[in-house]
């Protein structure tokens, strides 16, 4: 069984982002970029399925600028076997990415696609579900536990009320939640090995996909800042403030 794992290059989760002065977006120059954390969890899950003998090959794919190659090398250092870079400088929105991934899936014929549930830059939480719909496949989103057997995946999902388990026929799309696994760190020898693993490049044109954005960003602004409040010296002072000043106690 082949597993396809899409990975996105995003501003590192530790970076405090800055909104560009002209309101066009956020500053990305000289900012640390990393693999979207949910995609790391997706790579880890795929690699574990391979180590368990369930999967035979893990292919990673990333769409975007030249720098995505670094993200793909990182994924291969974590255990992916080979990589595909969909090279474009165009702005990519989730629907366009889902179409690119559908085209890649058409070429690769994976039995399973494991995506992160959301990218921590646009926070859209769409691509995996969109891909499943475009492929006409079933989906299991927000996975905290996955087991694969007999042509189906049994997936425990994190939902607002607790946990839900679904059984989805393969081929299928799974999206990862935080509790699915704890991704490993890439060892130095594996980082070296990853440099020699195969990496193909294609373009949206070659895949026959129109990636024209459907949403126009008119403005990006900073949210209103919260005023830092006061430190209180004691529990008694806190209760007095909550009662008399904030009036939130009943």
């Amino acid at each position: 069984m082949k597993i396809l794992v899409p990975v996105k290059r995003v501003i590192d989760y530790n970076v405090k982002i800055r909104v560009a002065a002209d309101g066009s977006g956020v500053e990305t120059a000289n900012v640390k970029m990393s693999m979207n954390p949910f995609d790391e969890i997706a790579v880890e899950e795929a690699v574990r399925l391979k180590e368990a003998g369930v999967a035979t090959e893990v292919v990673v794919v990333s769409a975007g600028v030249a720098g995505c190659v670094d993200t793909l090398r990182t994924a291969m250092a974590l255990g992916a076997d080979r990589a595909i870079h969909v090279n474009t400088d165009a702005e990519l929105q989730p629907l366009a990415v889902a179409k690119l991934l559908k085209a890649v899936a058409g070429r690769e014929q994976p039995q399973l696609v494991i995506c992160g549930k959301q990218a921590i830059d646009d926070d859209a939480n769409q691509t995996g579900q969109m891909l499943a719909a475009l492929l006409g496949w079933g989906q299991a989103a927000f996975a905290s536990k996955v087991s694969v057997a007999d042509g189906r995946a049994s997936v425990t999902r994190e939902i607002d009320g607790g946990l839900e388990t679904v059984s989805v026929a393969l081929p299928a799309v799974i999206t990862t939640d935080l509790r699915l696994n704890e991704p490993r760190f890439a060892s130095l020898p594996n980082i070296m090995k990853a440099k020699k693993k195969p990496l193909d490049t294609v373009t949206p044109d070659e895949l026959g996909v129109d990636v024209t954005p459907r949403l126009k960003t008119l403005k990006v602004a900073e949210p209103p800042k919260r005023q830092a409040g006061v430190k209180v010296a004691s529990v008694a002072e806190l209760v007095a403030k909550l009662r008399d000043e904030a009036k939130v106690l009943r």
Partner: protein, 311 residues
């Protein structure tokens, strides 16, 4: 304009986020139709029909929609969507699951998690864990939108009397099937719409301490219990208690963060609370930058003392 709102409900009635989503629909303006897809969902359909401003309720009542899969919810939504300019659902795990399937099938973009309606085609949504707000305009013929409940005051639940029409649900998809669920049961208010939230972080150190330290305070205040990711990952609290960028978004009247450092991913989920209290032993903790009232010290002493002081 004609807006289809997909109700989140428990068959007997509407979930609160549906009323917030209807408020966003009202801001867009136009005829509002509510789709209630479930099994034995007459109660929820009646509740939707009672919401003022709702023009029509479509009730898709079918056995296979008892615990609907994303595939089945998308299919019934698409069956109801014809002729509508907008399709809206709350942006919780319910809406996030199936709405992108609806958008992709219609070949339109989805606008996720909106916090403001600027006009019928323009919306504001948070990006980068709420550290930036993007104003986006959709050129697509149908706007598929999920709504952040805490950003819209709910519409009134009663006073209307819309007609309820039956909608035949498409046959069950065989792609995936519901197996089981484990819902967290608690007598406390629900995290998403509680008036007071008491949240514990990694500092609680164990599930036992999370319960024994926080529950008396939550009991006293009638609060819901929340948790940081670290507290959930460590098994102190269930996954559905996670507040933050990738968990639940809350905006209660009073939010008390206990032993939580205030990582941006956590702040993303609670910084719109009306009053924020932080208890942390580190005076430099980032949580104090958003707290209205900060108390520096050991939570294991301060929280029991607070319960006592509250009487």
């Amino acid at each position: 304009m004609s807006i289809l709102v997909i109700a989140e409900h428990d068959n007997a009635g509407l979930r609160p986020a549906t009323l917030n989503t209807l408020a966003a629909a009202a801001k867009i303006g136009g005829d509002i139709t509510v789709l209630v897809a479930g099994s034995g969902c007459a109660g929820a359909a009646a509740a939707a029909a009672a919401v003022p401003g709702v023009a029509k309720v479509l009730s898709a009542d079918a056995a296979h929609l008892a615990h609907p899969t994303a595939e089945d919810l998308a299919a019934v939504t698409l069956a109801a969507a014809a002729g509508h300019s907008h399709v809206l659902a709350p942006a919780g795990s319910f809406g996030k699951n199936f709405m992108p399937r609806v958008a992709a099938t219609l070949d339109v973009a989805q606008v996720s998690d909106i916090v403001e309606v600027v006009s019928a085609d323009t919306f504001v949504r948070p990006i980068y864990a709420g550290n930036a707000l993007a104003t986006v305009q959709s050129a697509d013929p149908v706007k598929v939108v999920t709504v952040r409940a805490t950003a819209f005051d709910p519409v009134a639940a009663t006073g209307g009397s819309a007609p309820v029409e039956a909608l035949a649900a498409p046959a069950a998809s065989l792609l995936s099937a519901f197996v089981s669920q484990e819902l967290s049961t608690s007598a406390r208010p629900e995290l998403g719409n509680a008036r007071v939230v008491v949240t514990g972080g990694r500092a609680l150190g164990s599930a036992e301490a999370y319960a024994s330290v926080l529950e008396p305070l939550a009991d006293r205040l009638g609060a819901a219990l929340g948790a940081s990711r670290a507290a959930v990952d460590s098994g102190y609290a269930p996954n559905d208690a996670q507040v933050g960028q990738t968990g639940k978004i809350v905006a209660p009247d009073l939010y008390i963060a206990i032993g939580v450092s205030g990582a941006i991913q956590h702040l993303a989920g609670m910084k719109d609370s009306k009053v924020i209290v932080a208890i942390n032993k580190d005076p430099e903790a980032a949580i104090f930058q958003v707290a209205d009232y900060g108390l520096v010290g050991d939570l294991f002493e301060l929280v029991p003392a607070l319960v006592k002081e509250l009487g």
